[in-house]
């Protein structure tokens, strides 16, 4: 049945080369843990991507209940955690995944760094990777405020203080982030929400695409 549907589509629009290009490629021996177990260090990039997928999915589902409003944000989170089936699991995935993704990203970075895999011709991909790291940190930072509990609120106060500490543009940056020069409140929450679910993910998808296209184009770095 599936085969027939596939063949029907393939016959008309020739989709086989599309996924072949993506899925069908040789894994060199030195990155295959079945040959050298120590090659598991090559998994961290893929694991980062895997956790990112979990983050995107669980985040999409969380927005079915979450509202970015100071009156209701905390209550909607409380509601989805206590009243909705599997709410604890879905929010738990997003909460813990946020930390795991940073850990995986860091391990991936360490591997690339200590193997010197960032060297020519892969410098550009390293730069894109660093940008991805910053975007991920931004996602973690903006997501932290969204439950609008005490921890979120006071952590964001600190964040804004740090932003304010930047010479010359600090105050403008803080106002831009908080939405108000003095109040950390309604506008801060909506801004962080917009940044967390629209702006940074869009940037992340673009950067990840560039990252993956480059690694496929240049191939994985050779054995040490």
């Amino acid at each position: 049945m599936m085969q027939k549907i596939y063949d029907w589509i393939d016959e008309r629009v020739d989709i086989t080369p599309l996924w072949r290009d993506i899925a069908d490629h040789e894994v060199p021996e030195h990155v295959n843990p079945a040959h050298h177990f120590s090659a598991f260090v090559y998994c961290f990039g893929g694991l980062t991507f895997f956790v990112t997928v979990i983050q995107v999915l669980s985040g999409m589902f969380l927005t079915m209940y979450y509202v970015p409003d100071i009156e209701n944000a905390w209550r909607s989170v409380y509601y989805l955690q206590t009243e909705v089936a599997h709410g604890q699991i879905v929010r738990g995935m997003h909460h813990w995944g946020a930390s795991v993704v940073i850990v995986m990203l860091f391990l991936h970075t360490l591997r690339v760094f200590f193997q010197g895999a960032y060297k020519k011709p892969r410098e550009l991909n390293w730069m894109v990777g660093v940008l991805i790291f910053f975007v991920m940190l931004g996602l973690g930072l903006t997501g932290y405020l969204l439950p609008w509990d005490n921890k979120a609120y006071f952590a964001t106060l600190v964040t804004l203080e740090i932003a304010e500490g930047v010479p010359f543009i600090g105050e403008a940056t803080k106002t831009l982030l908080a939405g108000d020069p003095e109040i950390v409140g309604a506008q801060t929450l909506t801004r962080f929400f917009a940044i967390h679910v629209f702006f940074l993910p869009a940037a992340l998808f673009g950067l990840m695409a560039a990252h993956f296209i480059m690694i496929r184009k240049q191939g994985i770095s050779g054995p040490l």
Binding site: I54, L57, F61, V84
Partner: protein, 169 residues
Amino acid sequence: MSEKRNQVSRRQFLNYTLTGVGGFMAAGMLAPMVRFAIDPVLQPQGKGEFTAVAQVDEITSEPQRVDWTIDQVDAWYESEVTKSAWVYKQEDGSIVALSPVCKHLGCVVAWAGNDDYPDQFFCPCHDGRYYKDGENVPGTPPNAALDRFQQRIEDGTLYLGKAIPREEA
């Protein structure tokens, strides 16, 4: 070993295993999210609560609009919501409580809402009309009679519950 031909090739075996394990992992990941998303459909229906809306001796044979408020719990938001009914007394003394929601597209109907039809319910959206007993006037947009409220009378007070479509009532 060799008396039987291999039914499953190594490639097939690996394909099945990988697809199986991958599918299991994907399902484990997606199942809580899907259950989370479809939760509203699986919530038990709240049983209709009755609210005191009017004194029976104040109800006339002319339909009157009665309003009452209920406490509505909408997930994390609680509020008071106003509900309305058109009530009148029939000749045998029984009370009819009709929902004001038009059966065409959900606008609000009013008794004698149009001067041309002083003894009918009228919907201003598409000129839908209903007779006094709530039956829709043939040839006007609605294709069903107005819903009736579940009712109860205690100590001369009228209590109304949920509006129920005619066929089920």
